[in-house]
């Protein structure tokens, strides 16, 4: 099972908490997913609003580790301040560092990401960077203190799956000792299974479950998919080949 900054998590599924039809469905989806980590955010709350307080009570009842994010941040300063607020709010050094560099694709800003990751690591944070599968970027992130890498499968919310399997495989081969998580872009359990089959330690998703017609059933599907992927990864899969090879013995076939 994955170990993030010294903490072993009893699941390869990390699940977001946004966009569910209701708090009750969120809670039930989490139970069925067996996810070990919930991602959360910090958002404005003033006046008589109580939404944040109610949400926090719900999350505490889930009994999972909490990973706050810096979603929606476009600059290093914004992300660092958001991380500082999240650390106090959720009482954790963990931060999913998101710095958006491109409005249409929500592609991470690699330059800001390295700068912010360096500042936050220096300040005692355990940074989970939402990044691309770029090897050089990932090397820089590790150099500045990241002990987890979270490359995207595809742009956030698209459900397109693993867009660059070669790149993800290269990353796995290059960073044998760093926990790797495919974060974002997954739409189906089969895509999650594929990520784990590639040797990834975990997957992080939200929309695929929350926006499914039946989020609870989809959560169960993802739970089984990551288990299946992990069994396959441990089972030393056969090598693919171009030519057909009969599985039924040729020897002994009746001569007709």
């Amino acid at each position: 099972m994955p170990v993030f900054y010294g903490t072993e998590i009893a699941s390869r599924l990390m699940l977001g908490t946004a966009q569910y039809p209701s708090p009750a469905i969120l809670a039930e989806a989490f139970r069925e997913s067996a996810a070990g980590i919930a991602t959360v955010s910090v958002r404005r709350e003033a006046g008589g609003e109580q939404a944040g307080q109610d949400f926090w009570a719900l999350i505490q009842d889930l009994g999972v580790a909490v990973l706050p994010n810096t979603a929606g941040c476009h600059s290093v300063r914004e992300a660092v301040t958001t991380a500082q607020m999240a650390r106090e709010l959720f009482d954790t050094n963990w931060i999913k560092l998101e710095i958006i560099g491109h409005a249409d694709t929500l592609q991470p800003d690699p330059f800001g990401l390295v700068e912010a990751a360096a500042q936050l690591s220096e300040d005692g944070f355990n940074v989970f960077p939402y990044c691309t599968e770029d090897l050089v970027l990932c090397e820089r992130l590790v150099e500045v203190g990241c002990k987890v890498l979270m490359p995207w499968g595809a742009p956030i919310g698209t459900g397109l799956g693993l867009n660059n399997i070669y790149g993800l495989r290269s990353l796995r081969a290059h960073f044998a000792d760093i926990p790797l998580v495919v974060d974002a872009g997954l739409g189906l359990p089969s895509q999650a299974a594929h990520a784990i089959e590639l040797g990834y330690d975990a997957v992080l998703l939200n929309t695929a479950v929350a926006k499914a017609g039946d989020p609870v059933a989809m959560a169960k599907g993802f739970a089984r998919a990551v288990e299946a992927g992990a069994l396959a990864a441990q089972a030393d899969p056969m090598d693919p080949r171009d030519m057909a090879a009969p599985s039924t013995p040729v020897l002994g076939k009746a001569f007709l």
Binding site: V40, V42, R44, A46, T81, L89
Partner: protein, 65 residues
């Protein structure tokens, strides 16, 4: 003085961030704060003075991906 709280201009005489939060009914709430884009930890809210034009952000736990 006029200050900006979560993007909205309000009039306040609160001498400190802690006092402002009390006025807003957020004294005991699970929130985090910043003033002029800089994080202000809970332990420093009482000594964080406010002045005209300050931009205050008050955030709480919320759903996220």
């Amino acid at each position: 003085m006029k200050i900006i709280v979560n993007g909205e201009a309000i009039n306040s005489d609160a001498p400190s961030l802690a006092a402002l939060l009390e006025d807003l009914g957020k004294g005991e709430a699970k929130i985090a704060t910043s003033v002029n884009e800089a994080f202000v930890p809970k332990t420093l809210r009482a000594t964080q003075t406010l002045k005209d034009g300050d931009r205050i952000e008050i955030v709480a736990p919320r759903q996220g991906g």
